[in-house]
């Protein structure tokens, strides 16, 4: 039943299986046909399903999303691929002012089951505009679901759930994890409203999502050497946020660290920490900590290792929230 595959292959399988079963689903994006997408996520699909269901679009992101709106009016369930994170901004208006609002604006008469796939995040040594983490802009938008995946199984199940969902869903795919392998069982389903507790621990709650889930799990293993028992949560659904799972965990551990690649200012960590403070302030034993990209534009590739949260920075923050000696005292 389950097979080992990369996250890229899992996403491809999810698209294939959905196209197979639902005639209303179609794919649209730049270079997704013959080329199979620059990351090969749509590899072979145009061959199999034809150019009318796997559409190579003109080079226009606003056009892609605006067209999806019209298609959804007509009952289709379009899945749009935006080639890279940095190219979603030309489509920003269609996403935040159109796709995400129509259901509300029409009092529920119009549904927008539009899925937007967005490779995102850094760590691949790319040039400018190819390593962005724009999730906060979108998570701020009412009417839009924002999810991100962390491993092949999660990628398969979550993408299928996103396409089945009657709401518009932005699926953030951590491109630096595209080539990591894992087991995928196509019968496993996902829901779009819950976080995942990936590891139980007693001392502190470490919340991450997308590309940093692997890093957080590695940090938890490394923390064992220092006698620290970390609970790791994959947030997965960034909007609406599953604050209950986070709060339940923090109530047990009393400590919270949130890690993501995006700048920390007005970010998901701002939201998660605020929610925890609102939900279980009485159970927090220390100030929550966050480990994020700095509040700078994404730097040139030669500096990205300094910008991206790694195991050491995460453990440094864990030390702080546990009242242990951290870099800020050493200096």
């Amino acid at each position: 039943m389950s097979t080992t595959m990369t996250m890229a292959a899992a996403l491809n399988a999810a698209l294939r299986d959905t196209l197979e079963t639902d005639p209303d689903v179609l794919l649209i994006g730049e270079d997704i046909g013959t080329l199979g997408g620059v990351f090969r996520i749509t590899d072979g699909l145009q061959n199999r399903f034809g150019a009318a269901r796997v559409i190579d679009s003109p080079l226009a992101e606003s056009g892609i999303l605006g067209t999806c709106v019209g298609m959804a009016y007509r009952g289709m369930r379009p899945v749009a691929e935006i080639q890279f994170d940095g190219f979603v901004y030309p489509a920003f208006d269609q996403i935040v002012a159109q796709v995400s609002r129509l259901h509300y604006r029409t009092g529920g008469l119009v549904q927008m089951p539009v899925t937007i796939r967005l490779p995102y995040g850094g760590g691949i040594g790319a040039v400018e505009h190819h390593s962005e983490s724009p999730e906060a802009y979108f998570a701020h938008t009412p009417g839009l679901r924002v999810v991100t995946v962390a491993d092949p199984q999660d990628a398969y199940s979550t993408l299928r759930a996103a396409i089945e969902c009657d709401d518009p869903v932005l699926v953030l795919e951590p491109k630096r994890r595209y080539w990591s392998k894992g087991e995928v069982d196509s019968s496993v389903t996902a829901d779009l409203s819950s976080a995942r507790v990936l590891r139980r621990g007693a001392d502190a709650t470490l919340v991450a999502y997308g590309p940093l889930v692997v890093t957080a799990l590695e940090a938890a293993v490394a923390a064992e050497d220092d006698g620290i028992d970390l609970e790791v949560i994959d947030l997965r659904t960034l909007a609406p946020l599953d604050r209950d799972t986070v709060a339940a965990s923090v109530r047990r551990t009393g400590h919270l660290v949130v890690a993501h690649e995006a700048p920390g200012n007005v970010s998901l960590s701002s939201e998660v920490i605020t929610s925890a403070v609102e939900d279980c302030f009485d159970r927090l034993e220390a100030a929550p900590e966050r480990v994020t990209g700095y509040d700078t534009p994404y730097p040139p590739a030669a500096l990205e290792d300094h910008h991206l949260p790694g195991i050491d920075r995460i453990l440094d923050a864990v030390d702080r929230t546990l009242g242990r000696r951290s870099s800020r005292e050493v200096a």
Binding site: E30, D31, G33, T34, L35, G36, V38, D56, S57, P58, L59, A60, S62, G63, G86, F87, Y89, P90, G125, A126, V127, E128, H129, H130, N265, Y294, D295, T296, P297, P299, P300, A301, A302, L303, H306, H307, D312, R313, D316, S326, S327, R328, V330, A331
Partner: protein, 383 residues
């Protein structure tokens, strides 16, 4: 037929039936009533210069591809096949005209005196901006497709407001035609008679997508709907490209508003070094375009004029070797920026939040450094 002395209000597009050209594929010089007035100065010396320019940027491009293959560069967008379009444009404009380009115009950058380190640094990932835009009258290359078209129009409108007569050039590919930005830029340019040249290198593909996905009629027809006159030119004919650029620049400089040039050419290599063009193009098509090589065509013409091709090759090789040696040397000499430079230039003045992050970054980095050894603490020459 488009003339340069009166407002081109009737036929807004020239070269539709057949892209304008003056050099046949066998190197024979053909008359062309539109371009001929801009070819008076095309003597052997000028032609030789254009040939050498093309040979050098081809060598530069090949060397950069090799450097990428050797792991010295993260990425490179090859321009092979598009030498005539870039050299024809660069050698038609005074260096004070301001260029707003995308990532593939390294031939233009070279003509504008951009040095090897400046050119490679972005692709090696040590900086986001390789050169000083004002030193070279060339903006830092644009990755977002078509965004630079707006910038060129704005620059041109500002130039006009200042009563100056330099022009701005927006360079882009065929894919850019689909973006709202380019179409909006043409509206602004036309409405305000902005002194801007829209320069499209139609190299037939936007990554894997053939130009037919972006335009079902010749690209040069698009601007006419905005009231912008355009020329469709054989982009592999450097002489035609230079003449067309001269024509357009004169038209624009004389106050008649924007103009559009479509260079019909072909990208012989991959889109970038991470692209696999065998997935979307066939060998036959490639072979056809290899025969239209802009260097070969000019070489045959020079041969017909009686120039010494042997000397030409020798000189091309000498200059190419000079350029590629500079690239090789530059790439390893490129400094990795200090980690703390992450925090530089976010805002034009420091603000407390970022200062705090910088301090925390410093402390964190210091905490990772190995404990200083005995000798490091006490050793070292006394000064």
């Amino acid at each position: 037929m488009l003339t340069t002395t009166s407002a081109p209000d009737q036929d807004l597009v020239d070269g539709l039936a057949q892209p304008l050209f003056v050099l046949g594929e066998d190197g024979t010089r053909h008359p062309d009533t539109t371009l001929d007035p801009f070819l008076h100065d095309a003597d052997e010396e000028l032609l030789t210069g254009l040939y050498l320019d093309m040979a050098v940027i081809r060598a530069l491009d090949d060397e950069a591809v090799a450097l990428q293959r050797q792991g010295e560069l993260g990425l490179w967008p090859p321009l092979r096949g598009q030498e005539a379009a870039q050299i024809g444009l660069a050698r038609a404009l005074p260096e004070t005209d301001f260029l707003f380009t995308s990532y593939r115009e390294n031939g233009l950058a070279w003509c504008r005196g951009v040095g090897a380190q400046e050119m490679l640094s972005v692709w090696r990932g040590t900086t986001l901006s390789g050169w000083d835009p004002f030193a070279h009258h060339m903006a830092t290359p644009q990755v977002i497709i078509a965004a630079q078209a707006h910038h060129a129009v704005g620059y041109a409108m500002a130039t006009q407001a200042q009563g100056k007569d330099d022009i701005a050039v927006a360079c882009f590919g065929d894919g850019a035609l689909s973006q709202g930005d380019l179409n909006e830029a043409m509206v602004f340019a036309a409405s305000f008679h902005a002194p801007v040249l829209f320069f499209c290198q139609n190299n037939q593909y936007a990554i894997s997508e053939p130009v037919a996905v972006q335009a079902t009629v010749p690209i040069a027809l698009r601007p006419t709907g905005f009231g912008i006159p355009s020329l469709r030119v054989d982009g592999n004919d450097v002489l035609a490209m230079r003449a067309a650029s001269l024509l357009a620049a004169r038209h624009i400089r004389s106050g008649k508003g924007p103009m559009f040039v479509e260079a019909v050419t072909y990208r012989l290599g991959p889109h970038t070094t991470s692209d696999d063009p065998t997935r979307y193009r066939d060998e036959e098509e490639l072979e056809t375009w290899r025969h239209r090589c802009p260097l070969g065509r000019l070489e045959r013409h020079l041969d017909q004029l009686g120039a010494s091709i042997e000397e030409l090759h020798a000189e091309a090789e000498r200059r190419s070797e000079e350029t590629t040696a500079a690239l090789r040397e530059a790439v390893t000499a490129l400094p990795v920026p200090a980690p703390e430079s992450l925090f530089d230039h976010v805002l034009s003045t420091e603000h407390p939040g970022l200062l705090r992050q910088r301090e925390q970054f410093r402390a964190f980095t210091a905490s990772l450094a190995p404990e200083p050894t005995e000798t490091a603490q006490t050793g070292g020459p006394a000064s």
